[in-house]
């Protein structure tokens, strides 16, 4: 083993320190939100600069947030859209991937082209809206489940994974008298579990975080998912012109309570994701790789 030179050792230490700082910088905004959410609004107002611990301790804001019925409406709707949406997504993706991985399918390239073309070209926002409207899907829960119910990109990843199954296994099943559907559910799906899991995770996260489609297509507050309520609270409710801002400076206390409420809501609505992702990240990472080696 060749000894490390002094310069290299300095470099290693330097490297580790810089990475540590970077990691902290990446995580700090959420840590700040966490600390601020437990802080006493009065103390938070008097404080300037970074927070390294909650200032005082108050759960008043959490009480306000947790007694807001819209939080539960949002959570319930989000869970519904995520669950139903992800199931439909996976069925469609699996079907598409399976069918397009069949050999000696006469129309395969044609169908592939029809699907893949939509990755590169689309009608645009307004025509999409008008079509969805003409289908009577605006302001229905179905719109949240159906729109975007298959991603061509993910379908191609699925197809590549199915290609990876040795032909002999499927042929053996067919010789035993299994039809296409049996092969799909009994042979292909179990063998592609890792890919299915990864794609399901991608779908779940994108549904969970989606705010644009709900904003466009939903009108009734009773159907809003979490992200739409969050948008109201964090973005629209925000002071957007200078006059307002000056007026609010007089009522800075009120403003600070508003901030604390916002921070609490952020924590309450992100906690599940933040608790889960460290355990799932290796699957996500492998998903990125599945996407990279396909084709």
């Amino acid at each position: 083993m060749i000894k490390k030179s002094k310069g290299e050792r300095i470099f290693s230490v330097f490297n580790v320190v810089i990475l540590g700082i970077l990691a902290l910088v990446c995580a700090y905004p959420m840590v700040y939100v966490l600390f601020a959410s437990f802080s006493d609004p009065m103390k938070l107002m008097a404080h300037a600069g970074f927070l390294f611990k909650p200032l005082g301790f108050s759960v008043e804001a959490y009480k306000t947030v947790l007694t807001n019925p819209e939080l539960y409406t949002g959570y319930a709707n989000t869970l519904l859209y995520v669950a139903a949406g992800a199931v439909l997504n996976m069925i469609m993706t699996l079907l598409g991937g399976f069918c397009l991985s069949r050999k000696n399918l006469l129309w395969k390239n044609t169908i592939m082209f029809i699907f893949a073309f939509t990755m590169y070209f689309g009608g645009g926002l307004i025509p999409t809206y008008l079509i969805v409207e003409s289908l009577g899907l605006v302001n229905t829960r179905w719109s949240m489940i159906i729109i975007g119910c298959v991603s061509t990109y993910n379908m191609i990843i699925m197809r590549t994974a199915i290609y990876g199954i040795p032909d002999s296994i499927e042929e053996a099943a067919q010789i035993d008298g299994a039809g296409h559907l049996t092969v799909l559910w009994k042979v292909v799906a179990p063998l592609c579990k890792p890919t299915i899991a990864v794609l399901a995770l991608f779908y779940i996260f994108s549904k969970w975080n989606d705010w644009f489609n709900p904003m466009i297509y939903l009108r009734d507050r009773s159907m809003y998912p979490l992200q739409t309520f969050l948008r109201e609270l964090l973005i629209i409710n925000d002071t957007t012109n200078v006059a307002d801002e000056a007026a609010l400076r007089d009522t800075a206390n009120l403003n600070m309570s508003k901030y604390v409420i916002q921070y609490c809501t952020i924590i309450v609505s992100t906690a599940p994701v933040l608790c889960i992702y460290p355990f799932l990240q290796k699957y996500f990472a492998s998903g990125v790789m599945v996407g990279a080696v396909k084709g």
């Binding site: 310069g7 990691a23 592939m112 009608g123 925000d238 952020i266 990240q281």
Partner: protein, 319 residues
């Protein structure tokens, strides 16, 4: 070997001919497959090709009462209106400038992070850094933008720090010269960890023998990085770069919509936010559809070009 291959290729081509006989035979054998594809066809026709048909309203004066087919044709009026207005240059400039900044600043950041992570030999530390840098990727765009707005407000974190150093705190998102910096910096924060994954994987695939050989030749750590690591991951970098350049017009309009306000339209408004505002908020359906269609066509050109080039460069493309 090559003869067998050629034979099978010929055989394949023969099977792929759309003769009546072949179509019948194929349907007999594969009809279940085609039935299974029906839900997908329905989806693609309604939600992907339907809007493409709907895009003809760009050439019509769309009125909700008359519908897509019934509205009057106006030809290229809305295209002309857009191309001759000030909006056109402003929006093109904003979109392209944001994309270029993002290529210059956001693209190299994850490569650098991957290279640095690759030099860390302590496993748990490396994993810890990765977990923390992935974090922003999992937070929803609404929350990210809400946080940004809070932090840059005059009484937000950055304002407070400005005040400590004797500056006058101002809401940075009210000043148009700050928007791009805010967008790009937050973008690096959001994507640096996640985008490093693909480069880390490329780094893991570098042949260890190359390093051993470099060490024998007397290369230090830095020399190894310059002469072994970087050349080894160059194909990945080039392909990612080309795809990024291809997507130059697909700046994330969602983020812009969440961040901007009318005071900073001059620098913030991009294609996505403009079509959304004109179309859904101001209900100029046809005008917005025309802008969207124009941009889709240009974008399509860019993306397919990028795909072609990356296929040549790395034998690697989107499908």
């Amino acid at each position: 070997m090559s003869l067998i291959k050629m034979n099978s290729v010929q055989k394949k081509n023969k099977e792929r001919k759309f003769t009546v006989y072949n179509i019948k035979k194929d349907f007999k054998k594969n009809h279940t497959i085609y039935f299974l594809l029906i839900p997908l066809f329905v989806y693609y026709i309604l939600f992907c090709y339907g809007p493409m048909y709907g895009a003809i309203i760009a050439f019509k004066r769309y009125s909700p009462a008359l519908g897509i087919l019934g509205s009057d044709w106006v030809g290229f009026r809305y295209f002309e209106q857009f191309l001759t207005s000030d909006y056109f240059w402003k929006i093109m400039r904003n979109t392209v400038v944001l994309a270029l900044y993002s290529i210059i600043f956001c693209f190299p950041a994850p490569i650098l992070l991957a290279l640095m992570l690759n030099e860390v030999k302590i496993k748990w530390y490396k994993k810890g850094v990765q977990t923390l840098t992935y974090l922003p990727h999992f937070i929803s765009m609404v929350i990210i933008c809400g946080l940004i707005r809070n932090f840059v407000a005059s009484d937000g974190l950055i304002g407070q720090i400005t005040a400590i150093f004797g500056g006058t705190p101002e809401n940075l998102l009210m000043q148009k010269e700050n928007f791009r910096a805010i967008y790009i910096i937050s973008d690096i924060w959001q994507s640096i960890g996640w985008n490093s994954i693909i480069f880390l994987a490329a780094l893991a695939g570098v042949d260890q023998e190359l390093y051993d050989a470099a060490v024998v030749d007397g290369a230090g750590r830095l020399k190894q990085v310059i002469h072994v690591t970087i050349p080894a991951i160059m194909p990945t970098i080039i392909v990612m770069l080309i795809l990024r350049i291809g997507g130059i017009l697909s700046v994330n309009g969602e983020k812009v919509i969440l961040l901007y306000n009318e005071l900073i339209y001059d620098t913030a408004d991009v294609i996505g936010s403009f079509t959304y505002r004109k179309g859904l908020l101001e209900q100029n359906y046809s005008y917005s559809a025309a802008v969207g269609l124009l941009m889709s066509v240009v974008n399509f050109f860019f993306v397919t070009m990028a795909n072609k080039v990356s296929k040549k460069a790395g034998g690697y493309n989107l499908w």
